[in-house]
């Protein structure tokens, strides 16, 4: 009961912040609001028993991504040009997409239903066997590092590729700048 209230309150706050991001034209403010949004999502994850996810969201979603955004704003500019917030065409498109998604949820199991199909397969086996097969008491760790180790390897490859991408995009301009400076001397 109390859990449900906390859950709804946090989701309500997230809704307010998302609308704030939509209206605010100052990009620094919008970036800060996004960080708060991630922090609220992390709180929601704790309520929904996903403590590892809450940890990662608070550190990576609310921490690192805001640093990246602020870094970008420092290199560019912090103000958005004034534009009308309400545009009819996109609004209708978003409304339609939302309606289709809500239609899709209608036959989903209720929130917190222990008999939902998602809980009847694979997960019970991890919960019962991971202690003996892998070891650590945290099932999320066992699944991440052992049962789905290839997923994690793939994730590392993605991060490595992204690192190369960022380096190729930003490192190149700086090097060329240095060469130009030398020629001027």
């Amino acid at each position: 009961m109390i859990e449900a209230l906390i859950d709804e309150a946090i989701l309500g706050l997230m809704l307010v912040i998302a609308i704030g991001v939509l209206y605010w034209r100052n990009l620094f403010a919008a970036a800060m609001l996004t960080s708060i949004y991630s922090l609220l999502a992390a709180a929601l994850f704790v309520v929904m028993d996903a403590v590892d996810v809450a940890f990662t969201e608070a550190a990576v979603g609310a921490g690192i991504s805001i640093i990246l955004t602020l870094g970008t704003l420092a290199l560019t500019c912090g103000e958005q040009k004034p534009r009308p917030v309400f545009v009819l065409g996109p609004f209708l498109l978003v409304l339609l997409t939302g309606a289709v998604l809500i239609y899709g949820t209608l036959d989903m199991p209720d929130y917190g239903d222990a008999l939902a199909p998602i809980h009847s397969h694979v997960a019970p086996r991890y919960l019962e066997e991971s202690r003996g097969e892998v070891g650590p008491p945290n099932v999320v760790t066992s699944v991440l590092a052992s049962y789905r180790g290839y997923d994690t390897l793939g994730e590392t490859v993605v991060i490595f590729t992204a690192g190369i991408g960022v380096f190729a995009l930003l490192g190149h301009g700086r090097r060329r700048g240095k060469v130009v400076a030398k020629e001027e001397v």
């Binding site: 859950d7 996004t34 999502a41 990662t56 534009r83 996109p90 929130y111 917190g112 999320v140 301009g173």
Partner: protein, 121 residues
């Protein structure tokens, strides 16, 4: 009020649609990526919602606990969060390069500059 039913999903869909709306209407590229982040975080909440069992506990094994929430969505979303930040980093560095080349990060102004450059050739 004891059970939330489907309200959680609907609120999450509303959040997702606000993020989507920011992505398609805002001509500012940084704002677009912020919208994408909001969309992403909402999808994470959607997945974690599916894994919750009422009365369950965090999936850390203990003798005193009988019911655990589903650990599988947690693992998938852990991966997704980190990949999400990697894509954000690439997107933002593209914005920095675009700003260095055009002096603006508003989509319509970039289009105008491109159109002017095409006329003489």
């Amino acid at each position: 009020m004891a059970s939330l039913g489907l309200y959680n999903y609907w609120l999450v869909i509303a959040l997702m649609m606000i993020g989507f709306y920011i992505v398609i209407t805002s001509p500012n590229l940084v704002k677009k990526i912020i919208g994408l982040n909001i969309f992403q975080a909402s999808v994470f909440v959607l997945y974690i919602t599916m894994g919750k069992i009422i009365g369950g506990s965090a999936p850390i094994l203990s003798d005193q606990i009988a019911v655990y929430s589903n650990p599988l969505p947690h693992v998938l979303i852990l991966t997704a969060i980190v990949v999400g930040v990697a894509t954000t980093a690439v997107g933002l560095s593209l914005v920095v390069r675009i700003y260095a080349a055009y002096g603006t990060m508003e989509e319509d102004e970039i289009e105008k500059i491109e159109a002017q450059e095409e006329v003489p050739t």
